[in-house]
């Protein structure tokens, strides 16, 4: 059975201040569908770059990024946009809600890209908001919500389109411990109860404990452990990477 996410020999280099910074070097990675991955590593290790490549927000300099059977490196920006709308739900550290829209409107925003009627879009957005426990906050603007609530709205937006994979970049980075825990439990539920594949970038070992599998990234090398720190059967190369 093919992997949901399959990266082969992926490299990505950025130009910073006239210097080349090779963030990812000939990286190979395979991820199964239906799991909850935590991607950990020190700052600058390329975690967010990897997430962006998998989410089709960025493209590799070389190599292949195949997600759900589609090679993203061969897609045009227009095709990538459509693909992101269909397959990916994003959750960002800074929440990234549109400040002028209410919680419900933010959640319904990606549904604009579907042929659903206005009523259907509203119902689906309400359902997503109910799932994250914010059904009673649908008319609140982001500034009227707490950080934790904003992130839950962002999660509702991410799942509104019923994506194949949810990519969360430091989703608890701006939250206090209590709110962070709520968000993590919510992501865990999405994985367990709705079967969503979740890939979460985090610095926080406590946050990573909610994942079923932890992938370590450091200087282009991968290491993989399950949530208990054990190497899973069939684990990828790089078992000696720092945990």
């Amino acid at each position: 059975m093919p992997h949901l996410i399959d990266l082969k020999n992926v490299s990505r280099t950025y130009q910073r201040g006239g210097e080349s910074l090779e963030v990812l070097q000939q990286l190979d990675l395979e991820m199964e569908g239906g799991s909850f991955y935590a991607l950990m590593g020190p700052s600058g290790s390329g975690k967010t770059t990897l997430l962006n490549l998998i989410g089709g927000l960025d493209q590799p300099d070389s190599g292949q990024v195949v997600v759900d059977g589609e090679d993203l490196a061969t897609m045009t920006s227009k095709e990538l946009a459509q693909w992101r709308a269909d397959k990916v739900g994003f959750v960002f550290q800074g929440f990234n809600l549109l400040p002028v829209l209410t919680a419900l409107e933010n959640v319904a925003l990606p549904l604009q890209l579907t042929p659903l009627s206005k009523t259907q879009r509203r119902d689906q957005a309400r359902h997503a908001l109910d799932l994250v426990g914010l059904g009673d906050r649908e008319n609140h603007r982001p500034r009227e919500l707490s950080g934790g609530q904003e992130q839950r709205v962002a999660i509702a937006r991410a799942i509104a389109m019923d994506p194949t994979v949810v990519l969360a970049d430091e989703p608890t980075g701006d939250l206090d411990r209590g709110s962070a825990e709520q968000v993590l439990v919510l992501l865990e539920r999405l994985n367990k109860e709705m079967g969503k594949t979740i890939l979460m970038v985090t610095h926080d070992p406590l946050a990573a404990e909610h994942a079923r599998e932890i992938v370590h990234l450091d200087k282009g090398r991968l290491g993989r452990r399950d949530a208990n720190g054990n190497v899973p059967v069939g684990g990828n190369a790089g078992e000696d990477a720092p945990s």
Partner: protein, 388 residues
Amino acid sequence: MTLKIVLRNLLAHPLRNFLTSGAVFFAVFLLSFLQAVVSTLDAGVRSASTQRLWVQSAVSLFVDLPLAYESKIATVEGVEWACKWQWFGGIYKEESNFFAQFGVDPETFRKSYPEIIVDDEHYKNFEGNRTGCLVGKDIALKYGFRVGDTVPIIGRIFPRPDGSPWEFKVEGIYESKTAVVDQGTLYFHFDYLKEAIESGDTDGEIGVGVYLAKVRDGADPGQVQSAINAMFENGPQRVNATTEAEFGRQFVSMLGNIPLLLRSIGGAVLVAIFFAVLNTMLTIGQERTRDVGIMKAIGFQDGAVFRLMIIESLVLSLSGGLVALGVAKLLEPGMRMALTQQFPGFAMSTNTLLVGLAIAAGIGVLAGLLPGMRIRNLTPLQGLRGQD
């Protein structure tokens, strides 16, 4: 949702956007006003009849023609009748109350202008009263003239020897359906003027400023025009017969190239306001960078965010423009009244309003293009990071 996002974004900075919209308001109002002036000047030319020819001195419009020319012109093949017109150039009470006055032949005047609306009974009274006059609706409203009133006019070209004013009794108030005849003129009997000169009741010389030659139905106006010019080729005074349209053009050109001047002023204002709106839109574009990044990340296409910026720019510009056009239309009667001497028949026509609307829309689209292209070309990551 698009319009909702646009409106809420605009309302998020009410003062800045109100001021920008206000700039468009003043620009569109001014441009529409100037366009209306130009259209008013052109209206006489556009509405001109081919069946009316004007015969003036070949030397200058300010040189009178002999009285005897009336019967000669009337004998030209294709001419139905000739009507005398003489500029009076008087003042109603004081200098600032200037409006045009002409001495005309009442009988042929009305026949020449079926576009003039006046009560038949009133016109009959005008024809029957040597000191009677017809006044246009606009000056009647402005100065409160009513039928039966006496209008004192101080003669400048034809002054009374004792300095007293001429007195004309208002026998009728006319309206005009054509831009060729404005509603700000007083018409009186040419013969009243002629007799006053002959009897010494006024200074000045007897003459006719211009003759209006009515072309008979079916006759070729061009041939009639040539025939009139040829008739007086050897004097005693050469004439220049022109079409009504050409005659109107001469009047406009006497003011200098007013349309060009007005259009130049309007163009300069337009450019200045365009840059003001563009500046606001560039700022708005910068502010939208992160939102655009979010929208692109969740799947919106480049074209969708580009349209969003164009719509935002259009709404900003059209809001000011539409209010300006509404205000201009509301003020039209007052402006027509105030400008009845300078630009008789001033009107905010549908065409003028459409030009104003097109200008507002044009500013909106053009000012949205640059920021629109910028956000269109942003990658999702550049947008999310707030980068250019």
